[in-house]
């Protein structure tokens, strides 16, 4: 049975299947295996004959699967010679968006600033996340390079929202985060001082759960070289302190941010 004949016969079977054998006569099978089957195993009713032929035809079509016509390969994206971010950075981005999204802006800006380009497997999730946020979407397109725009051009679901051009300064700048005046000096303070102040306040139960937001903002913007010391001091917070849970949470953020920046250091 030739493929073309089976395909044509299948279309005829579909018509009968849709209308039912009460209303439509069954076509004769093409010569060959399908006709032999009908002759070898005759069935008593038109519907059972249709069922038999549908089953045989389906088996033949599926088992006889062949590549279809040739397709035109799509034009590749323009080249991007920047090195791809290391696999650890990809894993860290996933951790960031799951647990500490406050770090994502800095992750993207650091990728760009240090001459990396985003790994290909992150392009779709990045563009998907920032479909409606023009600034972040633009930041992602810069970090991911021409490949990202090329993917978006081929996938309407990943194209941007209103098409408005975001302010280039906003795209390139790390967004400000609100930090309370008493903690503001720690943004630029030396590592030892930041660790000492935050540790003492955690030991003294000076932090409440409601302080988490400002502490997160502080750690997300403090000097990078202070992060290990701050994390270590907060992890050493006295066990009986009511702030211990908060201290460990913020320490986790400090460790993650430090890891993120280390992974993305310029080559």
């Amino acid at each position: 049975v030739s493929t073309g004949t089976v395909a044509e016969y299948w279309e005829e079977l579909l018509t009968v299947g849709l209308l039912g054998t009460d209303r439509r006569e069954l076509p004769s099978p093409p010569e060959g295996a399908l006709a032999d089957l009908a002759a070898d195993e005759p069935r008593p009713s038109p519907s059972s004959r249709l069922l038999q032929q549908v089953a045989a035809c389906t088996a033949a079509r599926r088992a006889g699967v062949l590549p279809g016509p040739s397709a035109t390969v799509i034009d590749p994206p323009p080249p991007d010679h920047r090195p791809v971010t290391p696999p650890e950075a990809t894993a860290t981005w996933r951790r960031i968006v799951a647990d500490w999204p406050v770090l994502e802006d800095e992750w993207l800006l650091t990728v760009t600033a240090n001459g990396w380009r985003v790994s290909a497997e992150l392009i779709a999730p990045l563009l998907g996340r920032h479909r409606t946020d023009g600034v972040r979407r633009a930041r992602a397109l810069v970090a991911a390079g021409p490949l990202a725009q090329w993917v978006a051009d081929h996938q309407p679901a990943l194209q941007g929202g209103n098409g408005a051009r975001p302010d280039p300064d906003a795209v390139a700048a790390l967004p400000d985060l609100p930090i309370s005046p008493d903690l503001l000096p720690l943004v630029l303070a030396p590592p030892a001082e930041s660790a000492k102040v935050l540790g003492a306040r955690a030991d003294g139960e000076d932090f409440a759960r409601s302080d988490l937001g400002v502490l997160v903002n502080l750690v997300a913007r403090m000097r990078a070289d202070a992060l290990p010391a701050v994390a270590a001091r907060l992890e050493a917070c006295v066990a009986h302190s009511a702030s211990i849970g908060l201290a460990h949470t913020v320490a986790d953020l400090a460790r993650l941010r430090h890891r993120m920046l280390t992974e993305l250091e310029r080559r």
Binding site: L13, L14, V16, G17, L18, L19, G20, T21, D22, R24, S45, P46, S47, S48, L50, L51, Q52, V54, A55, A56, C57, T58, A59, R61, R62, A63, G64, V65, L66, P67, G68, P69, S70, A71, T72, V73, I74, D75, P76, P77, P87, R94, V97, A98, A120, E121, I123, A124, P125, L127, G128, R129, L147, A148, W150, V151, H154, Q155, A157, L158
Partner: protein, 460 residues
Amino acid sequence: MGVSGQRWAVEQVFALARRPSIIAGATAAAVPVLWTSLGCDDRAVWGRYRGSSAEPYDVVADHVEVATRCTCPSRVAPCKHALALLLLWARGQVPQSAIGGSAAAWIDSRRSAAVATPTPAPSPAPSTADAPTPPDPPEPSSRDDRVARMAAGLAELDRWLDDRLRTGLTDPALARYSTWDDLAARLVDAQAGGLANRVRRLAGAVGSAPEWHRHVLAEMGVLHLIARAGGRLRELPPGLGDSVAMAAGWQVRQADVLAGVPETDTWLVLGRSDTREDRIEVRRMWIRGERRGRWAMLLSFAAYRQSLDDSVEVGTRFPADLYRYPGTHALRAILGLRHGAPEPAVHPPGASLTEACAAVGSVVADEPWIEHLAFTVSAAPARLGGRWVLADRSGSLPMVASPAELATLLACSGGTPVVITCEWTPSGVRPLTVHLPDRTVDIGPRADPSFVSGGWSVAS
């Protein structure tokens, strides 16, 4: 006694449900805090459910010779309380204790009846097509009874299909879920849980796409094949008979599989595919032996808030014993002893699309009811007639992929040929993994993180 009291899998409990709505009710009631006096032994599980009525319901289930009793007013058996009790037991939330009270009396009465009436034989635990194995070996009489029951169910399925084609796919009855669900419930009764699942999936396909009738008619043909072949199991060659029986839902015990001869090889983990089937999330892990080149599929299941097996990771390789379920191609398998730790896999070679089609065709020719097969090809994503295909010099194959999966494939390939592990389905090929020279990218469909526990997810 037919089978011993090994704990069931959750899927086996769900397979008892007459309707999906009962599964939902049972899941909500399967919370330990709603139960008192819970207990189980190697024959029964029992407890008192504190529902909305003044008096708690006494619930008891015989998990060996599958039967349930509940004092609730529901006329559906098993009711949601009985299923909830079995769910708790399946999850290990029922303590072992000595049976007593009305539960003991009921079990005793069943024992007495069984002694007085040796036939019909007890029915073993229910099953679904891909579900884990049922507890214990049925004795010959039990097996014969089950074969007879399944044969009767398959004959009924074939009559049902015949009736549908008489009136045609445009018959409005076909658009009603109950039309299919009643059939599925009867197939569950006939111990053909695999076919019941397949029928329920088909119900969801009616009207779901412009060309739905193509898929539905073809699947009805496949159901007919299984029904006819299942009615003649004893006449079929052993391998084919096993394949047909498993497609219908016949359970092979894990212990029997593990009692076979292991296939020792270094296994490349080449693809992962998660799909929701009714109320269960199914994970297929596709692995291939480095030495023999044979594919195998590891299955795992998760009901709501359960975890899928993540003990093997795409892009790794490890030496291990593998035990295959019976069948002509015996794709489904269980991992046995591992002989080493996993390490990053080497970049696998990719076949041409023609070679992949030939491999798929040879398996499907032997087992036309197969729904998934894996292959690794070297191809590029391309457009043909308004849809995405995988293409190489020998031609193209249509792809079925979500926008996010397709976008990642595009990004990883840059439109040029890459080595891709795909899953063949009757609707098209689904890309699962992109094997880049320096890394492996798992792009296969992932279980909804709000349904199963564990794993990471990024909104896209």
